[in-house]
Amino acid sequence: MIEAMDVNKEYRRAGAIIRALIDINLTIKSGEFVIIQGPTGCGKSTLLNVLSGLDLPDSGKVIFDGENIARAKEDRLSKIRRQKVGFIFQDFNLIKTLTAIENVESLLWPTVLRDREIENRAIAALRDVNMLERKDHFPAEMSGGEKQRVALARAIVGKPRVVFGDEVSGNLDPESEKDVMELLKQINNDYETTMIIVTHRESVAKYGDTIVRMDKGRIV
């Protein structure tokens, strides 16, 4: 499904070179639930960026579904992300001027799907995350856990092959964290969606089939 081969990534910050990823080799199989764990600044978010096509590595290959995305153009990466990838963010990143259902639908607006089809898919996704009754509510009217469930619905509405999550429970209380992680596990089981979740929390690790531990830019 996803294979990283000799991936390296450096950043320049305040004149210093930071080696965020050093010789990363990683294979993630289809349907796997992977937890990438490590302390702050260990390179786990950079790895997520590179694996998902949000950022390009300085060297090495990232084979995503048989295609090397390490040298792909921006438009191609956008298309891959829309068709094959779902994202969940720590801060939920819902658009505040859109209702829950509109936020979920937003992923499909720039597609050729008809409005009715988009609405049906969004309703199905919201039902999957038990948020259908809140479909007309705005993000400001929802709790953190509810926002993250709507964000999860947006991530799965396009029927992606992979869902990437960056500290998905970072802003949630333990109970909401449990709800969201169990939903992710359920979606992983029901639809065989590959899950790649970055976290620094030990409590999240138990949900993964595979734990990738990182430190100082390397997999340890």
């Binding site: 978010s45 960026n49 949000l54 921006e74 068709q83 990143n93 001027t97």
Partner: protein, 181 residues
């Protein structure tokens, strides 16, 4: 697809109530005043002063339109980054931004046309019943309004160009940064 994004742009614009009301209000006043001074110039009144005011309103509308475009993109950088992360292309986001900018201006025009109709009707009535005598009445005809529309459209095209350039610079990775980081 672009049509759908423009429809969504209208919804999003209307829900950003404060910004929409402020900028539509300012545009309405500017459009009205520009039309008024174009009418004055065309009818031979006002001398060079009317032309001077037209230039001032043109420059003001240009500055305001650029400011609106800048605020629109800068305030919503995280939204654009998120949309890029979930698979929207730069072109998709630009369609949305273009829709928001054009809709705000268009609403200003619709309000001006509405106001001008009522203004003309009231003035004509007051004149006919001889309640308004001894005052010069300036009715703005269609041509100055059309000319003003062309000027404002030109200004908006510049603003859209600037907004689109700014949207291009937003990196999808920004969506992963924590709020305030």
């Amino acid at each position: 697809m672009a049509f759908r994004l423009w429809k969504k742009a209208i919804i999003m614009t209307l829900r950003e109530r404060k910004m929409f009301v402020v900028f539509t209000g300012i545009y309405t006043i500017l459009i009205f005043l520009t039309s008024f001074f174009i009418e004055t110039t065309l009818s031979g009144g006002g001398g060079g002063l009317a032309t001077y005011f037209i230039v001032i309103f043109f420059i003001t509308s240009l500055i305001l339109s650029l400011l609106y475009a800048w605020i629109l993109v800068a305030r919503n950088r995280r939204t654009w980054a998120t949309l890029k992360a979930i698979g929207w292309t730069n072109g998709n986001i630009n369609s949305l931004v273009t829709g928001i900018i054009l809709y705000t201006t268009l609403m200003g025009f619709i309000i001006v046309i509405e106001v001008l109709f009522h203004y003309a009707a009231i003035m004509t009535y007051l004149q006919s019943v001889k309640l308004l005598t001894g005052y010069p009445i300036i009715l703005i005809s269609l041509l100055p309004v059309v000319l003003t529309f062309a000027i404002f459209l030109f200004v908006q095209i510049i603003a859209i160009f600037v907004a689109n350039r700014k949207v291009l610079k937003v990196r999808p990775m920004l969506a992963l940064k924590r709020v305030g980081e």
